[in-house]
Symmetry: C2
């Protein structure tokens, strides 16, 4: 096998592992969202455990990317693909941690619910959007030719809108819940919003991998 073939094979493995990581992050968010909405402590524990594994797997991808950089000394596009892989794995690691935080809120409030009735619909939609974004991200990482950028953008905007609506409600006269609820929904809303932000960040990096126009997308 030529150096080039070895490199391409190694790069494919990095990509496969990022796809796996993205699938696992989506699974963590699915479990966390159910745990949060239904006070499902079993799902919460599963999400928290998976988030820990997720962190280790992200670090393993980083080590692999650095090993390839070291052995192959890639330049130009190949180099940028690997640097992107490092950034994508860092984002996926944070996404797993954020989903884990949502599960932890559910865990702490068990057997009570962390979600007041007035916000159930909002968080249900936010959770569903984050899971949908996770699945689109996996698809995008699996096949960088896919054009999902527009729908990812639209879904992230909707998550931002819901995030603001949580604050609008909490800061309005209508909000009668106690401080525990206020803290829980404030943080949970923030975690959902950051999760979606990371999907947008990663999709910009994946788009670059296709177009090669790094600085334009970073700007």
């Amino acid at each position: 096998m030529s150096m080039r073939e070895v490199f391409q094979r190694e790069l494919s493995e990095v990509q496969e592992r990022l796809v796996d990581l993205s699938e696992s992050v989506t699974e963590i968010m699915e479990k966390a969202s159910i745990a949060f909405l239904n006070s499902d402590v079993k799902k919460a524990d599963e999400a928290i455990a998976l988030a820990e594994v997720n962190e280790e797997r992200a670090l393993a991808i980083d080590e692999m990317a650095i090993r390839i950089l070291s052995r192959q000394s890639p330049v130009a596009r190949d180099l940028r693909v690997l640097v992107s892989a490092l950034r994508i794995s860092a984002s996926l690691e944070r996404m797993g941690a954020l989903a884990g935080h949502i599960a932890t809120i559910a865990r702490f409030r068990y057997p009570e619910s962390a979600v007041p009735e007035t916000l159930r619909k909002t968080f249900s939609e936010m959770g569903a959007l984050d899971c949908a974004l996770g699945r689109k991200l996996t698809q995008l990482l699996r096949n960088t030719d896919v054009d999902l950028a527009r729908s990812i953008q639209a879904e992230d905007e909707r998550v931002d809108e819901l995030h603001r609506s949580v604050f609008d409600l909490v800061l309005s006269e209508k909000w009668k819940e106690n401080a525990i609820y206020t803290v829980d929904v404030t943080l949970a809303s923030r975690y959902h919003e950051r999760f979606a932000d990371h999907v947008v960040d990663i999709s910009a990096k994946v788009a670059y991998l296709t177009t090669g126009e790094w600085s334009e997308l970073e700007a």
Copy 2:
């Protein structure tokens, strides 16, 4: 000049820029902390403006690191130093954004204060600790031989303790403030805590640069 000399000079420039970025991040936190504690809207605006510049400067460092990787194809320790630089600049970018968020909370609540009297002392200490951590980080990046790891660890633990104490108070019977205060202090406390976390993350990476024991520190 030999390739090696060029590389060393370029590496020094990356380091200098990281030192500058760390100084700027500390300045943003200093302004944000004053803005937050004293409802100082001028300081808030300065912090928010600096946070935007900070983001651009972090991206410029990344571009420089990638250019060096591309031209020099470093291996072994040199390669890991550059990959660390990319990670450190990503953390410094987030730290600037977090400090900017604290300033934004002060901005939104102006002319009222976002800090209730019962938490003034706590946030004053948290802000001072974050600024001290920022200054230590600058020192560490300037001279990687400095042993600050222990004091950074201790200060981060104190920030975590204060962060928990904010939640303990807010979730206790004693908390009589309205939801606006609850939201503001919940998020502000979280931002202070994440800022300190990043300092710990970066200091582990800087420590690696001295010892060369990457995987040990990443574990």
